[in-house]
Symmetry: C2
Subunit: 347 residues, 2 copies
DNA sequence: CTGAAAGCGCTTACAG
DNA sequence: CTGAAAGCGCTTACAG
């Protein structure tokens, strides 16, 4: 255990390195600058070697705040997600962090909780502490908001969700509309269901609305009626699924299948149905969405639609860094990541 | 859709505000500085009002890099965890983020993956970009490493795990040794098990070693023998649990109960056992550790030990901010968070 | 109560 | 190939 020594706390600066190596600060800077390799200014190999040795001996690390202030690069990206506790985001966050660390970038993560207020807070915080780029999953933020952010800070943006139309923002999105449509169609055609319910979060979420639209389209194409009581909105929680299924199963004429807009909702529905002594899938079939790890841990294993958030995260990050590094400067690119239907035991 | 306008990108600075309000930059700074409320220097109410109005009109936000460079505060904390994809950390990360945002602080998260190399990378990155404090879950980092970090950057640290002994680092820890001991004892005394296996990650993890020690202690006190084959180490994954249980159940004399050092391992064990047509808990009882959400989704619902990572995160963050704010400056504080045994159906 | 000035640790034209 | 100097946007003694 180290004994409490007084804090000398003499920060080692570039000047110290320069002094110790008998060169000017400019020279040290040129050698250490991230752009030094591509720099026009050549440095003698001898000097470089000497300086690098001193840097190592002193354990010097350049102060990033000074760099950010003086130069334009912050070596940091921001990431705005809804909620770090949502399992859907984990592979995505992890993928982004991994790509970032390849570039020696740090990631600052903020949660919006789907609240406009917190999304705006994020914008403010990247204005105060400009980042080189941001990966954003916008719910309330509009193209104009993002445009404002970009012109104001000069940062580049990579977004999730094809409701973003800004000409300079790369967009990655899951083809969940098609996947939802096909899943419902599968319930009808392959499994012979006629009465199908739909449980989702609030329709304010583009996601909810998209999947609801797809659900309705599939039903209508088979000339199937969806009574109002068959559609229940709430939030993304397990509890919402449990409450919803309880309501549905107590209907005079309950549905024989349910399409849930997320696995957490579906798992709640599964639990609720079992608690009410219904058999899944015999009495009631359940389809989820996302394929979170727990989907294959529950009994019966959940039929669901896999979304590849890790892949989406990697795509967003790659697109972002291509722009940050100046490797791409054109108009927006669209990355569609197909979903995959996974039949398990709950249907 | 906003049309591509050329980037004027004139950063609004404090000088702009000063000019517009007809005061000096110093005055603007005094009014906006985070410490302004407690500042010794008084400002006339009129000036304050005028400046604040201009700030609002211009949409000015102070540049945090300049602040960090000039002053000592960065308005940012670092957080080092093993892996953001591990469900155990989610409530903890979330709690930390929530406390931080109350103080208008941002959180920079880094994953160590339990790798010394990545833990050192974290240290380097907070030297380059000094934060006011850090929440660290150290595996390889020693008291000396942390001491070095503190004296070098002046930051304060709050850590998880009572293997950290540094006199100035507040430590939060779960009482998992006692909880493990009691869980195993419960299997013996209440459930009458004599042959109990133990599955964990690598013994290099203090966590593995602690829980293994507690397991052995409980067994020995009941004069129960633990054959070497009953103890299987690997990693924290579901797969490890599945592989381990397969080995255990194929032993000539398999255990009748298994204590898994994490829920993910336990869930793998559960799946593996069921795949081999064993009944849980009749043929083999399984106890996990952590109480991740999925513990109550699997069938049979997993008996486990709850760990309250959210509470631990909140405690660590609170302790940290007390030091950052200068409200506490004394020697290290210890926060022991008791675990809670949760009997469900897998035992 | 307010302002002029120095300086935080860097990068980058400008000179040589 | 290298150095002296200006300046990024702030905060904070130092003066008044």
């Amino acid at each position: 255990m180290p004994k409490p020594k007084k804090k000398v706390n003499h920060t080692i600066t570039m000047r110290d390195v320069a002094k110790a190596a008998n060169v000017s600060q400019s020279t040290v800077s040129r050698i250490l600058a991230p752009s030094s390799s591509l720099s026009k200014v050549p440095i003698s190999e001898e000097t470089t070697k000497k300086v690098l040795q001193v840097v190592k001996d002193l354990g010097y690390h350049p102060n990033q705040y000074a760099r950010s202030l003086r130069g334009k690069k912050s070596q940091m990206i921001g990431m705005l997600i809804a909620d770090i506790s949502n399992p859907f985001y984990h592979p995505m966050v992890r993928a982004v962090q991994d790509v970032a660390s390849q570039y020696h970038y740090s990631v600052m993560i903020a949660n919006s909780d789907h609240l406009r207020e917190k999304e705006e807070l994020f914008c403010e915080s990247v204005i105060r502490r400009p980042v080189d780029g941001a990966i954003i999953i916008p719910y309330h933020l509009t193209d104009d908001d993002l445009d404002n952010l970009m012109t104001r800070t000069g940062m580049v943006i990579s977004a999730l969700g094809n409701h973003i139309q800004h000409p300079e923002i790369d967009v990655t999105f899951a083809d969940d509309t098609k996947a939802s449509y096909e899943a419902v169609q599968w319930l009808i055609k392959e499994k012979g269901h006629q009465r199908i319910g739909f449980i989702c979060a609030n329709m304010d979420f583009p996601v909810s609305a998209r999947r609801y639209g797809a659900f309705q389209k599939a039903m209508q194409e088979s000339a199937l009626l969806v009574p109002d009581e068959y559609v229940i909105c709430g939030d993304w929680s397990v509890d919402n699924g449990r409450r919803a299924i309880t309501k549905l199963l107590q209907l005079p004429e309950p549905p024989t299948a349910v399409f849930a807009a997320s696995d957490t909702i579906a798992i709640g529905a599964l639990e609720g149905a079992i608690e009410l002594n219904f058999h899944v899938p015999e009495d009631i079939a359940i389809i989820g969405f996302d394929d979170i790890p727990a989907a294959k841990w529950v009994q019966p294993h959940l039929t669901t639609v896999s979304q590849f958030p890790g892949e989406m995260g990697a795509l967003m990050a790659k697109a972002l860094f291509e722009r940050i590094m100046g490797e791409y400067t054109g108009t927006r690119r669209l990355y569609e990541v197909p979903c995959k239907f996974i039949e398990r035991e709950s249907t």
